[in-house]
Symmetry: C2
Subunit: 204 residues, 2 copies
DNA sequence: AACAGTTTTAAACAAGTGTTTAAATCAACT
DNA sequence: AGTTGATTTAAACACTTGTTTAAAACTGTT
């Protein structure tokens, strides 16, 4: 059949799984080959090297990671609602890809690591959200805050809870299931906290 | 001289540096040996294996990580001040050990990873802070929030900004120095946000 | 059926891995 | 000076690593 999954796709899919769950250094070409049901030579036949394959996987990961944000900014809503929706969507996205932020943050941290191609985030910065924040600052509807801190606030409170799952489970002696429900509670807490900080009620 | 740094200490110190900056999988015994100015055999002579050495390093890292919190809880201050001080001290600590949280979170994430010996955190949980929060809930001086979310709020907003340095530098095209100053600004923002969320002003 | 091009395989390569061996060096004490 | 024990060294072990080779199997076309 024509629309079967090709060998190339199988390998890339397996590589994605292995790379994201163990990291570049902690896995071998043979492990990826075995996970895809193929052999070592095929990995390099289609992708030239472990490194090239990794770059593809990392690139895809970054795209997904960023796109999940940009969608929200493109919607036609008041800024406050956009931020609410952003947090909501981020928690959704991270529930489906809980290992992504840790993978990205960690691989970027290795010194041999690749720099972030900033074009990934140009999408975000060119989505109009920056100007929208600027207007909100000037109109006094949003607390004045620089963009780095705004990014940090949102990402810290969305990504870290997923990245630190094992640590949190250890600290509080929780099962996977219980932690899931905590994550769900936490989403609301984070939303409330961020919204009330960023959009303070003006008391006359 | 008697109080020279011993070979054992040199190796452990070098191992700490290498393990924390590259992770367990991404470095070799020979790299650690070279970094300490010794040879491979000495590493295993003193520490039996790469794994045993890693466990020691990880253990120390965990202790430092936890101790930096517990100190604060032992002080004799109102709860709100303790939280302020905690954030302050965490940012201080993380400025000196910026790679620690990423190291811990990431090594705990590898499936072959060691579970968190929960005794590390028993120190925290037995420091009296839990009861103090409970009393504050009942007295209505603090927003009622479960301990998992409280931990998450504080750690997310303290640790993530250090863990995501390279990502943030990439997103916003910042130099090391500029990001440092952003971190300093962010500390105040985080403090304000957390305090005003956890200790809301009662409007009659 | 014969060809040509792509895909797959098993095997090999050199280099690097964690670990161990056995000999050499050192320090302290008789 | 000789003995004992701890420390250090170079070399080797068996195994895994990423990558390449060259032959085999498969595909579609004439």
């Amino acid at each position: 059949m024509k629309n079967d999954i090709t060998t190339e796709q199988k390998i890339k899919a397996a590589a994605r799984e292995v790379f994201i769950s163990k990291g570049f250094a902690a896995c071998s070409t043979r492990e990826i080959a075995k996970a895809s049901g193929m052999n070592v030579a095929l990995v390099n036949y289609y992708f030239r090297s472990k490194m090239e394959l990794f770059k593809l996987v990392f690139h895809d990961a970054m795209e997904e990671f960023v796109n999940s944000m940009v969608e929200v900014f493109r919607t036609d809503k008041p800024l406050e609602d956009k931020i609410r929706l952003l947090i909501e969507k981020e928690y959704d996205f991270l529930s489906r890809h809980p290992e992504l932020p840790g993978f990205i943050v960690n691989e970027l941290h290795r010194e041999e690591g690749y720099e972030v191609d900033s074009s990934y985030f140009d999408k975000v910065l060119n989505s109009g959200i920056v100007e929208e924040c600027q207007r909100a600052f000037e109109a006094g509807t949003m607390r004045e805050i620089n963009l780095v801190s705004l990014t940090l606030l949102i990402m810290s409170n969305c990504d870290f809870p997923f990245m630190s799952k094992n640590l949190m489970k250890g600290i509080h002696k929780l099962s996977d299931e219980v932690y899931e429900t905590h994550l769900n509670n936490h989403k609301k807490i984070v939303t409330d906290m961020l919204i009330s900080y960023l959009f303070p009620q003006k008391s006359i």
